[in-house]
Amino acid sequence: MLSKIHSAGLSGMDGFPVTVEVDESDGLPKSVIVGNVSASVRESLERCQVALRNVNIIIPPKRLTINLAPADRRKDGTHYDLAIVTGILKSIFLDDASFIDDYGFVGELGLDGKVRHVNGILPMVAEMKRAGLKGAVVPKTDIQEALVVEEMDIVGVEDLPDLCRILAKEESFTDYPRDTPRVSTRHESYNVDFSDIHGQSFSVRAALIAAAGGHNLLLSGVAGSGKTMIARRIPTILPELSREENIEITKIYSIAGLLPEGSALMNRRPFRTPHHTITTPALVGGSSNSGVIPGEIALASRGVLFLDELPLFSKSSIEALRQPLEEKQVTINRLNGSFRYPANCMLVAAMNPCPCGYYPDRSKCHCTESQIRHYQRGISKPILERIDLCVEASPISFREATSKDSSVSSAELREKVHKAREVQRMRFKDSPHLLVNADMNSRDIEQFCPLNRQSRSFIEKIFELKSMSMRTFHKVLKVSRTIADLEDSPEISITHLSEAVSYRGLEDQLYGSMEEALSNPDPNDRSRGTNSISISENKEPKVRGCNE
């Protein structure tokens, strides 16, 4: 007898429908599983057979052929166990159990017959709904997560006897107790708040602007000045998660197996702090032995990716962030397919100003100019180009740290961010590719950041005074647009511009005119002769006491 059971597989963020076909026929007792499956799916047969035996269900000696269709797609993971065991039961014992044809099955089996948690329940159940199924049978531990998908009948099973009970008769299936939906979409509170930060008004203000306009932020400052504290609190002032965003985050965490047990939705904006020794695949995502898994940048989507000690990250891993940050999604191409994850996160980076961390306080910092430069040049230029705001956190004094006044709460700031985002939403309602000011390209800047004559002549002066590059100029305009939005001012005034100028990045300092000239010597000036100088910055004179 042939039986067909619906299930789903995962490819990147999305599921795809899988049908488990089980055929039972006479012949030499043998079980085979086919359909382009990985080793973990092949092992599933062993688990199913042992589990059945352990709950005293005796399978007659028959020839079992199991096919996972579509057979041309690679299938991986342990979540097919439940569908396979249901298929075996149906093909042998339950000819008339057609009432389960509208249901999908996912779950892993233990040898004792228990049904275990699997990763990726949410995207798989969502796929089942898309495929037109009425409901899903999932492990009992994953009910809440499955219930996030609306209008699906979710049945949670604890073990094989449970499963047998519901498969026995149609009435027993419909009467089986379902947990009532208790999916909460409330905004879960964070256990940190901006009011914990005293002083640092400059950095806090920059964090506010960054959150309001979706700008990337670089915090620089001496050790212990509270860079990490500020970064950690940025998710608390971002606008509340919408349901779609919430589901998107939950899907990623579900696939990565990071969803807290028994919880339905993430409800919080993620804050990811990878250590600087992280490898490139761990940062952008890559293959592991359980398939392609999302990297930190995908896990930080809709939240904050915090890179502490930015110059210490390996160049290759940072460079790999460039394209995902631009496109707000990351594509991982492997031999067996390309996988796409969202990467719509805010990048917040922190760094010390120099190797010892005290620069520019020369009474403590003995780092030479070239050491400082070398350290700072650890940040690649393309990444600096993607950071709109740069601030220097000041060393905090005892008086500031212990004072109780002048700190603002996250709620207040979030209110401001919310208003500014609203202004942006109205402005960009005809340009669907733009969500926040940070998304603007140079043409959008021309359209949305017009300057009046006064502001124009002012910024012209600054442009020359600070020897800005055009790119920096555009960043200043974007940031000043956000500052104006925070005050709900339709026009960018001189005040907004000059504040934006004070958040100007390191880019011009580190990669200014000199470097350009070094890399592109004017070809017209080239002539031959002995009269040449060669550049050597590497060796410091070694004799002590001659350091001028």
């Binding site: 000059s498 504040e499 080239r526 040449s532 050597s536 004179p541 001028e548």
Partner: protein, 298 residues
């Protein structure tokens, strides 16, 4: 990067004390360089010259002082001699170029090598403004420590007076000072604060009898030059500022302050303070040394 890229047509000269062009000042010192490799010009014997030296890790204040002294002295026709090192040396030489004067760099490596490489623009500008680059070691010698110690005697030898901007207690700058004293040159030291490690060297020199330097006029007087009209005072005329600008300017000091401390002293939010600081910067009263740090400009 080669010198051709900076397009200047300087012949390299190799001078020995027997040559006519060899600087008279160097002939006078006890151990003149046997060969002097020169790109560009040498300071003429009748030109008053001053060495501006100091720590490679100078504070912003020190750099500003060096640059101001360089500018004012060079504009009065004084040649500025230094070692083109990072910090005070190059600041003094940039100042000289600002002032439209001539400046001469004595290198510790061969003159075909720009050391430190970051100063290659200075290297080019010095030659373009009819200054000179010189060294006693052969053209392509790499920068070795011992050469730096001995080139210091050439710096002091070429100068009529030596200005020490900032120096740590035991620093290479003091090697130059010792050489200058051996050669009988006057040493001027810029006084600093008692607790500032970068002023320790200068204060020690003052204690040992160096001249206290408080304005460029001290040097001009020593060199018997009259100041001609140029505003030499280090104090800025703040009468042009409006009250708000004035109050912010009063809070600023010569050492860079973080915006947060300016905020707490002025009691103004960032939004209001930023434009004022920028106005001051446009007017030349202040400068932003790095993101978030502001200081009063000399």
């Amino acid at each position: 990067m080669t010198a051709q890229d900076i397009n200047f047509k300087n012949e390299i000269r190799e001078l020995t004390p027997l040559d006519k062009d060899y600087p008279e000042r160097l002939r006078q010192i006890s151990n003149p360089p046997t060969t002097l490799y020169v790109k560009g010009q040498l300071p003429p014997d009748d030109m008053p010259t001053v060495a501006i030296i100091g720590s490679r890790t100078s504070t912003e204040y020190g750099l500003d002082v060096a640059r101001t002294f360089g500018r004012v002295l060079a504009s009065q026709g004084v040649g500025i001699v230094s070692g083109m090192a990072m910090g005070a040396d190059s600041a003094g030489q940039w100042g000289a170029l600002d002032g439209g004067g001539h400046t001469y760099a004595v290198l510790g490596c061969g003159i075909n090598i720009c050391y430190p490489a970051r100063n290659y623009r200075l290297y080019g500008e010095i030659l373009r403004s009819r200054g000179g680059i010189m060294s006693e070691v052969p053209l392509d010698s790499p920068p070795l420590g011992k050469q730096f110690a001995s080139r210091n005697r050439i710096i002091s030898g070429l100068s009529d007076a030596v200005i020490v901007i900032e120096a740590r207690e035991r620093s290479g700058t003091l090697i130059t000072v010792n050489a200058a004293l051996d050669q009988g040159k006057q040493v001027f030291a810029v006084p600093g604060r008692l607790n500032d490690p970068l002023s320790k060297g200068c204060l020690q020199l003052i204690k040992e009898g160096a001249e206290i330097l408080t304005s460029p006029e001290d040097i001009l007087e020593y060199l018997h030059l009259k100041s001609a009209g140029e505003q030499l005072m280090l104090e800025k005329d703040t009468s042009a500022l409006n009250p708000k600008q004035k109050s912010v300017y009063d809070v600023l000091s010569v050492n860079a302050l973080h915006l947060d401390s300016i905020i707490s002293k002025c009691r103004l939010p960032v939004q209001e303070l930023a434009p004022i600081l920028l106005e001051l910067e446009i007017l030349g009263f202040s400068e932003c040394t790095k993101t978030g740090f502001y200081r009063r400009k000399l």
